[in-house]
């Protein structure tokens, strides 16, 4: 197991490194000059040239690259061209709202998807199934940001039950925190939950047809016990993998939703940084996002081993 984790971590690190390298060159392929953006559109050509020199942008690309790489390995993501702040510090500042929304979104998705999926599978072709399936279809058919707009209209503008904008850190209280991220989390969670619910349903249906479920019945256990003790864990095995894979969908959703709700998160920062060609921030943000993404999946894989005793990683330790 330990060897497997080490191997996977190494693999993940390589993937992130490649991603970071691609991004390094990709951002430099984006037309537009950070020096000009920084100095304002009307800055003089000399001032821009001087700043470019200052920022090290005039050096050959490979020199810039190797300098950047060596800094990365020292844990230095550089400083923002735009604000002179440390990129790491900036990212830490905006990661909290994004991760809060994504996290709560995932919790909401799971809380909706798993019970609904199970009900749907158990009450197959009954009204419960049709309702749950219908709702999940709606969930996967709406853009998350649009759900956000509708929620904002209804709950913030019309009913006024939650604040309409911004983010409040959980350090300032759990309730205000939840109030601020409830709608955004719902907006990202619903589409994600829709997909998961359908997965849960088909996975659970498959499990219900398994021989060991018949065995459990032949043992004289009651229905709910069979479902939750014998079925659930087996049904969740594929769901865990899928939940990890879908993380990309969820993270993508957060970006647009942050904008709808006016929350300063990772997605906003990334888009703003691309707009103003803030290379170090773009690179840093991409590394952080890939990092979260890759390691969340690693975490999911490891969790997978814990809920699926059949899997033994590391070649028969």
């Amino acid at each position: 197991m330990r060897r497997y984790v080490a191997k996977r971590v190494a693999h993940a690190a390589v993937v992130i490194y490649i991603v970071a390298t691609i991004v390094f060159f990709a951002v430099r392929a984006i037309p537009g000059d950070p020096a000009r953006v920084l100095l304002g559109g009307d800055a003089s050509a000399e001032a821009i040239a001087a700043l470019r020199e200052d920022m090290g942008l005039t050096e050959p690309l490979y020199v810039q690259y190797f300098r950047w790489v060596s800094r990365i390995f020292q844990g230095d993501l550089g400083t923002s061209v735009f604000s002179d702040q440390s990129v790491l510090q900036m990212l830490m500042g905006v990661a909290e709202p994004t991760l809060s929304i994504a996290g709560l979104g995932m919790v909401i998705a799971l809380l909706i998807a798993i019970p609904a999926g199970i009900t749907s599978a158990v009450k197959r072709y009954q009204w419960e199934d049709y309702v749950a399936t219908g709702v999940s279809f709606l969930g996967i058919s709406m853009p998350g940001f649009w759900i956000g707009i509708v929620l904002l209209m209804v709950f913030a503008d019309q009913l006024g039950v939650v604040p309409a904008f911004g983010y409040v850190s959980f350090r300032q209280g759990i309730i205000p925190w939840l109030e601020h991220i409830a709608l955004p989390a719902l907006a990202v969670g619903l589409p994600y939950g829709g997909i998961l619910m359908r997965m849960t349903r088909s996975s659970m249906m498959e499990v219900l047809n398994e021989d060991y479920m018949r065995t459990a019945r032949a043992k004289g256990l009651n229905g709910r016990l069979i479902l939750f003790k014998h079925g659930l864990q087996n049904a969740l095995i594929p769901i865990v993998t899928i939940a990890g894979i879908l993380l990309g969908v969820l993270l993508g959703g957060v970006v647009a939703v942050e904008i709808v709700f006016g929350i300063q998160g990772l997605g906003r920062l990334l888009i703003a940084s691309i707009e103003r060609r803030d290379f170090p921030v773009i690179q840093g943000a991409v590394i952080v996002i890939s990092f979260v993404f890759v390691f969340m999946n690693l975490f999911v894989d490891i969790m997978y081993t814990s809920i699926n005793p059949r899997i033994k990683y590391g070649g028969g330790d």
């Binding site: 065995t215 032949a218 004289g220 256990l221 009651n222 003790k229």
Partner: protein, 406 residues
Amino acid sequence: MSSSLPPNANAQQESNATASPTDGGDDPLLVVEDLHTTFSTDRGEVPAVDGVSFAIEEGEVFGVVGESGSGKSVTALSLLGLADGARVEADRVSFRDEDLLAKDERGLRAIRGNDISMIFQDPMSSLNPVMTVGEQIAEVVRHHNDIGESRSLFAELRRKYVTGTSESSASWERAVELLETVGIPDPGDRAHEYPHQLSGGMKQRVMIAQALAGDPDLIIADEPTTALDVTIEAQILNELLDLRDEFGVSIMLITHDLAVVRETCDRVAVMYAGELMETADAGTLFDDPRHPYTRGLINSIPRTDDDREWLDAIEGNVPDPTAKPSGCPFSDRCGAAFSLCGEPLVGYPAGKSGHRTWCHLYNDAVSRDGDEIDHVDEMKAKQHIEEYAAAADGVPYRPDFGSEYA
């Protein structure tokens, strides 16, 4: 009733009269009469089990043999209400004089695993892959014995996901004991393992232990050795027989393998296309197989003294269950088929007690030499058939065989 009634029909009626609740000791453990299990599919009604009757005595090993698709597994599942999506009807399915068909799910649950337990064909898929084998046995212990351990949903889930089952709990200790009983070495350690860590034979032993955990009176073993190696097969079968001897439990052994039947069973029912073909005690069936289908099956077993160049295979395939021929379902494959085969089937008794054959060759009105038909008195034959049918209809069927074990 006239004297023209078949002699055994009378006997049935009489013995039925003596079968009273107070006389349970003489009663078979399980009685099944005229069982029909029907599935509704897109392609119409499928009668998977079509009028099967049998009885199992205490302490006996009762074999049900037939090709795949003959309805033997469905018969077993029907008894416990596990045949999903099927309509189960019968004149009578009684276990220790309790009417199983009249029971609701809750009542059946009390029977399943407790009085009647099952062993399934594929131990690989029939054991839950994410639970330790110990826990799979222990939960049966808990649920069918009042040992003071909570079996609420919450307690069970906590046990599974949080605390695990305590090694010192009575249920766990009993599980380990059962593993030992079925011949698993190091049962204390093995109990903590997951099914995938065990060999096929071990897994089937676990299944057996699990089946024993509720102290059942009847174990239904559905093809318990089919998925196993031949060497393991013998061990498992011996294990089952030992258990019968040790605990006096009855075993309903479902198999497609006549060799298994010959080695283990006291009595046998041969099924084909959801219907009974022949019932007899095991010795008789092999010494004096009467039904052409039974004979076909026996002839297809390789023998050590075999001087045949080819094994005798039965030509053709099992009929499509939605389009069975009327009368004998085997008639279209039967080498001895003749004019009466389209008539409704009835069970003709043979010389030895309990030997009964559902084949019109044995109609009194048929004179023949072996399978060669000399003459058929159609009128008389049909009259006979009607009489047999009438005798069975409405009168609880009391099997007369097996009295030697009573």
